[in-house]
């Protein structure tokens, strides 16, 4: 199917901005509105735009299921592992304060939260993209 040139051009222009904005939303979560989840969804939206512009197959070739599996697993792993890391200095699960106290780095708590948000963002982005792939796939084989 031939796709509209305007849409293609506009999305080629917009997608990077959307993705940068999504990253901004993810890390900005600690300061204002936003966070991993919202950012992940916005990131996934950029893929939706690409799917609309270039077609599902094209996008899926660039960003395949292998990536989705890796990123979704990695995201939760970051979250859960940071939680587990907190046990090492003797804190409870997810007790970021214990790492901050052990390493003596100020504001580490906030950075850890950012790291966690990035993990959330990864998983949400990957899974949302995966869901859209699966929902939009109207037959035909997949890689």
């Amino acid at each position: 199917m031939r796709r509209n040139v305007i849409i293609k051009t506009v999305s080629r222009f917009l997608v990077p901005f959307i993705q940068v904005y999504a990253l901004y939303v993810i890390v900005h979560g600690a300061l204002g509105a936003g966070g991993g989840f919202q950012g992940g969804v916005v990131f996934a939206a950029s893929f939706i735009l690409m799917i609309i512009a270039f077609g599902l197959t094209c996008v899926r070739e660039r960003f395949g299921y292998r990536w989705i599996v890796m990123l979704s697993a990695l995201g939760i792993t970051i979250y859960a592992t940071i939680g587990l890391l907190c046990l090492i200095p003797g804190g409870n699960y997810l007790e970021y304060g214990s790492i901050e106290a052990a390493l003596g780095i100020p504001h580490l708590h906030g950075y850890l939260i950012d790291a966690v948000e990035i993990g959330i963002g990864m998983t949400v982005m990957a899974i949302m993209t995966s869901i859209i792939y699966d929902m939009g796939d109207t037959g035909g084989e997949s890689p």
Partner: protein, 91 residues
């Protein structure tokens, strides 16, 4: 079916309206929720965690476990959709 549904909805509606009558007034700063945990979070979040967004502080730290659950929920949904819809592939 429609009638049954209406009856069920009416039943639920009655309970809801009845319950809403005893809810704290809208925007009441003296509501139990605001006065108790709400105030605690507002008072403590900055000193405890050091992030400006209280919601983010609660989301990621105080109730981080809920958020872990939330991420797992979305992960579950993704795998579920893959199980249901994906043809071929490894999943």
């Amino acid at each position: 079916m429609k009638l049954k549904a209406l009856l069920a909805v009416a039943f639920i509606g009655i309970i809801l309206f009845w319950a809403a009558g005893d809810l704290p007034a809208f925007g009441d700063p003296e509501a139990p929720a605001t006065r108790y945990t709400g105030k605690l979070y507002v008072d403590l979040a900055l000193s405890d965690i050091g992030v400006e967004n209280i919601v983010a502080a609660i989301l990621a730290s105080y109730r981080g476990f809920d958020t872990l659950g939330e991420v797992v929920v979305i992960f579950t949904a993704g795998i579920s959709v893959a199980l249901l819809l994906r043809r071929g592939g490894r999943l």
